[in-house]
Symmetry: C2
Subunit: 170 residues, 2 copies
DNA sequence: GCCAACCGCTTGCAAAATGCAAGCGGTTCT
DNA sequence: AGAACCGCTTGCATTTTGCAAGCGGTTGGC
């Protein structure tokens, strides 16, 4: 996505950076799955991104300022990717997209529980979540409450409910 | 964008439908520019979509239920494209994306004035706008106030301001 | 100290999507 | 009658994607 200079419209400029099938998936996994290493993003993804595509997207997200990269002190080869303020600010976009998706598309219950919580919590909850992301990815102070824990717990419980339900019918 | 069956995550499913560089551009022009015919979408776009891409995107948006198509009674060759409730429901997504874009990307002032108004108005304004879209695209009753007029007027005034400013420096 | 496992990331190649220009059969306007 | 316009398709070159293998280096267990 080079400098095409198509128009100064905010929607268009956003799409020039994020308008493909993988960029937002990578950011989603960093944001909601707290995946920070290349391998984590590569192998723990539900959608199975290819390694060359992941490398390319990370490079472009870096160039565009959505994420940053630093070396992992505990492992000379590992890099740690973090969200920048620009990346963290996408929380409302994710919340809006996820809410739309869960209302109109064939989502699975366990994958949409987090979207529901974000939709119900509204901007107040989003701001709390963004504060937590600033703690996890930038050097902001730790908030008292962990929204990410709440979301992850709710997701795990939904997965467990599904597992039990499937075990019963088997 | 065939049935890849990658995951039931709302974000992923949304991206499988809208995750490319043009689908949301087309919907944006229908929604905010009230462009309803093929030629209007083709030639009045600031970004210059190619005709084969436009045809393909309209087909896919139709298949996915975001828009509908009917014949234009006044012209046998023309089709009129309309947003469905599913398409109209993207208003909060557009508002979030536009707000993000105007804060972090090099938008031009006249192109971001509508994003500002939507951000300031919040969900209350979005709902009014969606009601108006239901009037314009579905068969809902006409609302008392036209948000689209407000947005368009603000945009035109911003363009005019820019024109005057440029004329002064010339 | 050795070796298997893992690290981020690259390479080569086939398949698909995109971008561009021209054009088609038909309709409408003058 | 002729020009302009209608939605949309075609052919073709370029770019992007997807997949599998692999590279040089690091780490951890024995």
């Amino acid at each position: 996505m080079k400098e095409t200079g198509r128009s100064g419209c905010p929607i268009n400029l956003t799409l020039e950076i994020l308008g493909d099938r993988w960029s937002l998936i990578v950011l989603r996994d960093m944001m909601f799955g707290n995946r920070r290493h290349f391998r984590e993003l590569l192998s723990k993804s539900d959608e199975g991104i290819a390694s060359n595509i992941l490398a390319d997207r990370l490079k472009r997200l870096l160039e565009n300022g959505l994420i940053s990269r630093r070396d992992d002190a505990s492992h000379k080869q590992k890099g740690i990717y973090s969200l920048t303020e620009m990346g963290i600010s996408l929380v409302p976009v994710f919340a809006a997209m996820a809410d739309w998706g869960r209302r109109f598309l064939p989502v699975t219950p366990e994958m949409s529980i987090r979207a529901e919580i974000l939709a119900e919590g509204g901007p107040v909850l989003w701001r709390k979540f963004m504060d937590e992301l600033r703690f996890l990815h930038l050097d902001a102070p730790r908030p008292t409450q962990s929204i990410l824990d709440d979301l992850t717990t709710a997701y795990r419980e939904a997965v467990e409910r599904k597992r039990v339900a499937e075990a019963e019918t088997a």
